[in-house]
């Protein structure tokens, strides 16, 4: 995040699905503006139907804005001649790993995108090996996807887009269908890519604990960005978040409740560790006060 270079610029985007067009029907995206910086890990929150997936699909020109514009690495998504320039820069991973894998062998699946891009066979080989290594799935390269666990399949899906050598990884609820173990695997993988490879990550999620680990959080409600900032900043506004039907991380929730009970707590607590330390220090200072 040391560079402040903008990778994706979303400017005043408005969008309405044609199939639902009805007079006076409200838009799915309303005047959305957002910059995504190189190397950052951005989490997008919002309750069901708030327009998160619609926004994600604007990032690689699956959808184009009705008004406003989206620039990816300087390329305008509404320019059809740039379609594949844009799509190979924005790797998109979806919720259900089963519905993203094309081939019957893991490495053949990972090779799918570079094959489509017309990359030569030796380089495809290199990219496949690199991508499988990056998600720690090299040993499974000759397995059939349907024999793998959900988390493993989702890692293959990530490898499948990494093989395009994208600038940014956009993930639409990648952990929603996984068990806790699979969720942990995916989050670890994504954090590692972000930290070690400098991969820019945009992750849509319903899990606040996942969002808490991002560099920045954006909250969408009814197609509008209503909050953005550091996870600490966003989650400390506990009441506003609850108002739009979202949760805060458990540790923040506890801090919030303790604060309401009159303890000396701030709601800028995100993790269990922070919470434990804070409780200890509050407990000790209260005991100190009692002893006096």
């Amino acid at each position: 995040m040391d560079t402040n270079e903008k990778l994706i610029e979303i400017k005043n985007v408005e969008f309405l699905y044609e199939s639902t067009e009805e007079p006076g029907g409200s838009r799915v995206l309303k005047d959305v503006s957002l910059d995504i910086k190189k190397g950052e890990f951005l989490a997008v929150l919002g309750h069901n139907g708030s327009g998160k997936s619609t926004l994600a699909k604007h990032l690689n020109a699956i959808l184009v804005p009705e008004k406003g514009s989206v620039l990816v690495a300087g390329f305008l998504t509404s320019d059809e001649s740039l379609l594949y320039e844009i799509r190979q820069r924005v790797g998109m991973v979806f919720q259900n790993p089963d519905n993203q894998l094309v081939a019957t062998i893991v490495e053949e699946d990972v090779a799918f995108a570079p094959e489509n891009l017309g990359v030569n066979p030796q380089e495809i080989r290199e990219r496949v090996d690199y991508a499988l290594d990056a998600v720690n799935m090299s040993e499974y390269k000759e397995h059939a996807p349907h024999m793998l666990s959900g988390g493993q399949k989702q890692r293959i899906a990530i490898a499948g887009v990494l093989a395009m050598k994208p600038d940014v990884l956009v993930m639409d609820e990648p952990t929603a269908m996984l068990d806790p173990e699979g969720r942990r695997e995916i989050l670890e993988t994504v954090k590692k890519l972000n930290r070690d490879e400098g991969m820019t990550v945009v992750m849509i999620t319903h899990f606040m604990e996942e969002a808490a680990q991002a560099d920045r959080v954006v909250v969408i409600d009814h197609g509008k960005i209503i909050m953005h900032g550091l996870p600490k900043e966003v989650f400390s506004r506990v009441e506003e978040i609850k108002e739009i039907g979202l949760d805060v991380p458990q540790a923040t929730e506890l801090a919030y409740l303790l604060k309401k009970e009159g303890f000396d707590f701030e709601t800028d607590i995100l993790t269990a560790d922070e919470c434990v330390n804070k409780i200890l220090s509050v407990y000790q200072s209260e005991r100190g006060a009692d002893n006096d």
């Binding site: 998109m92 519905n99 993203q100 019957t104 489509n116 349907h146 395009m164």
Partner: protein, 271 residues
């Protein structure tokens, strides 16, 4: 569990036969089948048997795997043999009431059985030694000259690949739906045929809906991975003809010639 059904019957290995280009194997299998139907003497079948045995030995596939392919067709073979045996006219060898066995009928029946057996051997060896991916690749490449006259070779291969990929997923899903409906008291086992067919409806409808949703998701995922049809597409594994393919064709042609020659050495009265 339905999931345990293996698709195709690929038997992974690194033998000479496994390493052949799939195009060679597909074409050789076609030649093999054509030859089966040209054989007119037992000597020919003997040479064919020697050839088949050689291939099986080279492929290092356990013989029982090759023989397993015969199981599902045994009934069919038996019926065909019986018809040929009893309904062919000619020199009568045995007669009982209206049933008769003729010399020609006997020969015909034995030929028929041998043909069907070898047909199964030939195709089994092909599918046992060639992975589904290699098979579809081979078919795509073999059909690609026909692209000029509008045969959608790439699309056809892509469809096969996706079908192969999704069969286990959909089987698993069917399993889940059956369990879910059974838990709600659905009964798939009793009643007459019509009732049983009706009982399938609550399985098929959710299955179809889910299949369409999957297809939609998959299409989006493929677009996201820059899929745009077969044009300018490269492959991770390029198909390359090697010295093995040359050797294979040489052997196949020699044997075919021998087998066809054997037709002229038919010893009359030899059974």
């Amino acid at each position: 569990m339905l999931k345990d059904i293996t698709l195709g019957q690929y038997f992974p290995g690194k033998s000479f036969i496994h390493k052949l280009d799939p195009r060679t194997k597909i074409l050789c299998a076609i030649v093999y089948i054509a030859v089966i139907f040209c054989i007119k003497s037992f000597l020919g079948y003997f040479v064919l048997f020697a050839f088949t045995a050689l291939i099986v030995a080279l492929s290092k596939i356990p013989v029982r795997f090759v023989l397993k392919g015969l199981k599902p067709i045994m009934m069919f073979v038996a019926i065909t043999a019986l018809f040929n045996l009893l309904l062919t006219d000619g020199r009568i060898l045995w007669k009982w009431g209206f049933l008769k066995i003729t010399y020609e009928g006997l020969t015909q029946a034995v030929y028929m059985v041998l043909r069907l057996f070898f047909l199964v051997f030939g195709t089994s060896i092909l599918t046992l030694t060639t992975s589904p991916i290699a098979l579809t690749d081979g078919i795509e490449r073999l059909l690609s000259p026909l692209k000029k006259i509008g045969v959608p070779a790439h699309e056809f291969a892509m469809m096969m690949t996706i079908a192969l990929r999704f069969v286990p997923t959909l089987l698993e899903e069917t399993d889940k739906i059956i369990k879910a409906q059974t838990a709600r008291g659905a009964d798939f086992e009793s009643g007459n045929i019509i009732n049983r067919a009706k009982a399938m409806v609550p399985i098929l409808i959710p299955l179809f809906i889910s299949a369409f949703r999957r297809a939609d998701d998959l299409a989006t995922a493929m677009e996201c991975r820059c899929y745009r049809g077969g044009e300018n597409r490269t492959r991770l594994r390029e198909l390359k003809l090697g010295y093995r393919d040359g050797v294979c064709w040489f052997v196949v042609l020699i044997f075919s010639a021998l087998i066809l020659l054997a037709n002229y050495f038919q010893v009359s009265g030899l059974l």
